[in-house]
Amino acid sequence: MKLLRDTWLIFQRQMLLVLRNPVWVVIGILQPLYFLLLFGPLLKDALNAPTTADAYRFFVPGLLVMLAMFGSMFVGFGLIAELRAGVIERSRVTPVSRLALMLGRSLRDVATLIVQAALITVLAIPFGLTVRVGDVLLAYLMLGLIGVMLSAASNALALKLRSEDALAPLMNGVAQPLLLLSGILLPLTGWVATVADFNPFSWAVDASRALFAGDPGDSSVWQALLILGTLTVLTLFWSARSFARSVR
């Protein structure tokens, strides 16, 4: 109960800050928006897709996974700013739940993410994207898992590194290969596809595509949910421990 109450408390404050300065929500959606408008039109020919709609049905699900990845991987920077301002230390002298300090922030990232994802989905409709509501919601659930996991990981690393100068190269170094090895931009083939089997986000992209194709029973869907769910739980444990222990 205390955990729920405290999480809600932190979440409320964090959402207040997001709403007070929503520019970051917009900036977060710019990249996928550019991809949607400037990269999407190339795909029909590049993929030999029968129609533009087919190309978008292939592309948008991956784009949403990219949004979830990039939107959550860099939230640690905000935490570093909070650490520097003394806000985290101030929270840590109160009896507030340590797990709530982390969960409240991760839920903020999920809430932002779902709004962004809904925007991108709606903007893709004029290009011929069609999808069932139930399938979309399941896809968003998967995006939420990615959001919680990466946001928790980013925050845990931020607590460890405590400097933007250390966090930025690390995150960029990890983000690019994860993106390229997920098959978001083009279908994966050859040895790259083999390597990508070890990338959980590549599984997420496959599942997302199955859902947007109207095939929620596809094995990729439960596999991705299982993989992401397990990783999310593990990351939450790790991150919660960092929040409880973080010294200095």
Binding site: K2, D6, L9, R13, L16, L17, R20, N21, E82, A85, G86, V87, E89, R90, S91, R92, V93, T94, P95, V96, V247, R248
Partner: protein, 317 residues
């Protein structure tokens, strides 16, 4: 209210390729009574903040024990957190929210209900003279205003003990005086205040008792007056026009004179308590028919204490 035994903490930090161990706090024994303003005086890097952070459950001590407001620091840090307030040296507010919002959130993090938290915020804003700009964003506050918000946050839940890490650093003299009043007000409400400072005058004027810390150790502890007396008692300078040797002979045999020095134009007497020594000196000199020019009483300052205990002047360090 606060009792510590052998509190220790060292940090390992990397400098280039080698790791160095800094013994920040090396066995601190303290006793702070209920309702006291207890001062912690020491130069930069003495270990004041590290000690406070240990007592506030923010870092785990390497060794030693402490009981704070009846709760054991090691066994029950959660209870310690509920009973104390802590105001960090570096500030604790977020730019984009107002003092009121910060106060309400902070109270709620202590488990206080929404309506009660709002009432407490109103009261705290008034007590710390923040009402006027309570709903402006913190980034628009002056340094002193923002510092007052920090203190208000530290006591929003009516703690029994509050730790204030340099509450007055960076404040102008007027704001500092205000802050002292606020700290005294806390004491009058029964709060035990543990405050660190670099300022001798502050320690002197504000604190009921204080400890001087240097290189991670307590080098002196007592009331400001005790500490000053411990150094050399008081100093009385007697200005004489001639007859200095006679006066010296006369006074040297007096029990209350610890030490006597002949200086230019008179004598310098080291006594335990100037206030009682002066009338006796006057009587003695007058009785012998020696003409007295001037008489002056110097109290040793905390700086003299610091000099004696650490071999350095705090003003220079």
């Amino acid at each position: 209210m606060i009792e510590t035994k052998g509190l220790r903490k060292s940090f390992r930090s990397r400098q280039g390729r080698e790791t160095k161990t800094v013994e920040a706090v090396r066995g601190v024994d303290l006793y702070v009574g209920e309702g006291e303003i207890f001062g912690f005086l020491g130069p930069n890097g003495a270990g004041k903040t590290t000690t406070l952070r240990m007592l506030a459950t923010l870092i785990e001590p390497d060794g030693g024990e402490a009981t704070i407001a009846g709760a054991d620091l090691r066994r029950d840090p959660g209870e310690v957190r509920r009973r104390i307030g802590y105001v960090a040296q570096g500030g604790s507010t977020w730019d984009e929210v107002s003092a009121r919002e910060e106060l309400v959130l902070h109270a709620r993090m202590y488990g206080i209900g929404k309506a009660d938290a709002q009432r407490r915020a109103v009261r705290a804003l008034e007590a710390f003279q923040l009402t006027e700009f309570a709903d402006r964003k913190c980034k628009t506050y002056s340094g002193g205003q923002r510092r007052r918000v920090d203190i208000a946050l530290g006591v929003i839940h009516d703690p029994k003990v509050v730790f204030l890490d340099e509450p007055t650093t960076g404040l102008d003299p007027q704001s500092r005086a205000h802050m002292w009043d606020e700290i005294r007000r806390l004491r009058s409400e029964g709060v035990t205040v543990f405050v660190t400072t670099h300022y001798l005058e502050e320690a002197d004027a504000l604190c009921d008792r204080l400890a001087i810390m240097d290189y991670g150790e307590i080098v002196a502890e007592g009331t400001p007056d005790e500490l000053k007396r411990e150094v050399a008692g008081d100093v009385v300078t007697v200005g004489l026009n001639g007859s200095t040797p006679e006066a010296a002979q006369l006074l040297d045999s007096e029990a209350y004179v610890n030490k006597l020095e002949t200086v230019e134009g008179g004598l310098r007497l080291y006594v335990d308590q100037g206030a009682t020594a002066i009338p006796q000196i006057l009587r003695k000199i007058d009785g012998a028919g020696i003409h007295l020019g001037t008489i002056e009483l110097h109290r040793p300052s905390l700086d003299d204490v610091f000099l004696e205990k650490t071999g350095r002047s705090l003003r220079e360090s």
